[in-house]
Assembly symmetry: none
Homo-oligomer: 198 residues x 4
DNA sequence: GATGAATGAGCTTTCATTCAT
DNA sequence: GATGAATGAAAGCTCATTCAT
């Protein structure tokens, strides 16, 4: 009984989260109404408030669902690649692949994330791309220690890499057809590796 | 008379635009009301609608004012630097300087710009950073032709450079104190120049 | 079995009533939600509706519980005081004592009771202070018949006495600290007894 | 121009206040919706918010309108009666007359006033009947100094008088037909003057 | 009987937009 | 052109009540 009830509860909450992510991503959080989400989930508006305190709380949980499993999943899935730079490259590619499969993630990362300044100020660690930055810095530090790359400023390197990822995503969202994002990834790798100098 | 009237008209329209940019940048366009702007410009709310069809039209004109003079100004002011790569680096630095002086520009470029998907879809060329991308691609192509740099994919290079600029700006907006954006610029230059390989 | 069941039923209903009185008195009936009461009674919201038809019905039963045992108790406990006026004074004092011990009673008498105009119109006899008025009139009539007091308008006298009690309670609810309600009672007695004339 | 506009503004605000008092008095503030008031004033709901910050602010202004001019008017209009006790009696009678003419005042004084505990805590001086209490205390003190009445506790006396007024109003609101409130006033005067003792 | 998730009508409040002056 | 009072649609949110379990 309890387990079934509890399962229903979790399912309903997850259903709302899932639909909310969809709608938020499609319309933007400001343009999305609770009525939109309730309609998408085929529930009454009031039901949303059974599971979430407010629209803002719902949005925050959506972001954490994305930031948590999805982004961490990418970091984790590349963990075992031995070559450090290969690992970062794979990380880059997997991120792009994820975004191509679930464009709403890009939507959250590049758009919603930037609007919630208050959210950031309160929980700076939830900044989704901050996690990426940390990951890149960590790996680049290792690569330097292992003498696989020269001694560079790893924070600047992380901004280059993550900034390029983020920007490529943004552009891809707008002009999907004209952007071969996978080819771009390979070329970015080449530039970062050898530089632009002769 | 006519010219004077016309001048008044232009002045009042420019006054509204100027104040709107200020308020939009400070509060975000969604949080900004027409009343806020009218108050900032010390005019009546109805007057805004004498010069602009709607709030959205006003926002769009604000973006064009920024994208136009301000960003083009940076491109133009670095036009005469002879060395191509030096020119791009100066462009990068001037952009950062501009943003540090007028943070509302960053606000528009990194936040507002991404919210107006409709705007983009309708007018893809108004994408502010698109102009930067074009500028970087153009210059990198020249640099290759002049054999100042090796033959790279200039589009990927542009994404790296502009993406890093944009991302650094975003981070700087959130955590101004902990980000020495000028030092980062220098380190990014170094990485792009020589690559990370030994 | 049946008796036990019935006892359980009565117990649960009394539990709800008891907790409802507490919560209604603390927050006011309008600010109180069924969820508040269910929470206070540690039962499910739906259970409230097993015993009461509606929130309003619950409130009405609460009022009757208070008007019944509590107020009647005061009347009864002073029944045996032989001197009529002494009896009324004691009645006054006991009422004050009761209210000081159970302030939620004052809350109901002075606040909730006045809001339910519909309730009154339907059941005028449930007006809690009406019972007091009747009691005072009855006793004053007796006192006159016994020639303990002069022939006054006993209804006016009852309004004076009960009105003063009610008003003193109201003020005491608002500014508990600054009102020595017992001293006031003694002084009111003196005025009523001898009048204000020299 | 300005004066006409300004006059319109004041008129509209007064119109809203007037209608709000009517509706609040008829339905109670909690049961009254902004839509009710807007409908009564034949304006749009939003217009209410042009003149008042919130429903609560509107209610507060309603109370002040009543507490201010109306109650003070009674106090003022009896100022010139030379005999102190006669003055207080006239004050009592005028209050009753006012309430009979504008029953909504009674509604506010006896009902709304008691519900807004928060309001009281914040602005204890706005307590409408507090003003009456002060007035009675002041006059009774004078009467004692003038040796027109004996030395009584004037605060207790004020509670008797104002409490009786308030209670009589409450009862009259509920059972208008069966209460000759003017006769009661005369009898209350008699009791207070000579006491109940032989 | 007991539960509590689900409901949806109804509330207050906001604000882009209009229009008589 | 300029005004700002007026509008009313639409939003987020609450909560008494219901009903399948």
């Amino acid at each position: 009984m309890n387990t079934k009830r509890s399962a229903n509860r979790r399912n309903k909450k997850e259903l709302i989260l899932e639909k909310a992510i969809e709608v938020f991503a499609r319309k933007g959080s400001q343009q999305t109404t609770i009525a939109d989400i309730a309609h998408a989930a085929k529930i009454a508006q009031g039901t949303v408030y059974v599971y979430f305190d407010s629209k803002e709380a719902l949005l925050n949980e959506c972001m954490q669902v994305i930031i948590g499993p999805e982004l961490q999943g990418i970091i984790d899935s590349t963990k075992d690649i031995p070559d450090t730079m290969e690992r970062l490259y794979e990380f880059f590619v997997k991120h792009i692949t994820l975004v191509k499969e679930k464009p709403y993630i890009a939507r959250f990362l590049t758009m919603e994330a930037r609007q919630n300044e208050d959210f950031y100020s309160q929980y700076p660690d939830y900044n989704p791309l901050k996690r990426y930055i940390d990951h890149v810095v960590l790996n680049a530090d290792i690569a330097i220690a292992e003498k696989r790359i020269r001694s560079i400023d790893t924070h600047a390197f992380a901004i280059l890499l993550v900034g390029a990822m983020d920007f490529a995503m943004s552009m891809w969202l707008i002009q999907k057809d004209n952007l071969d994002i996978v080819a771009i990834a390979a070329n970015i790798r080449d530039i970062l590796k050898y530089g632009i100098n002769d």
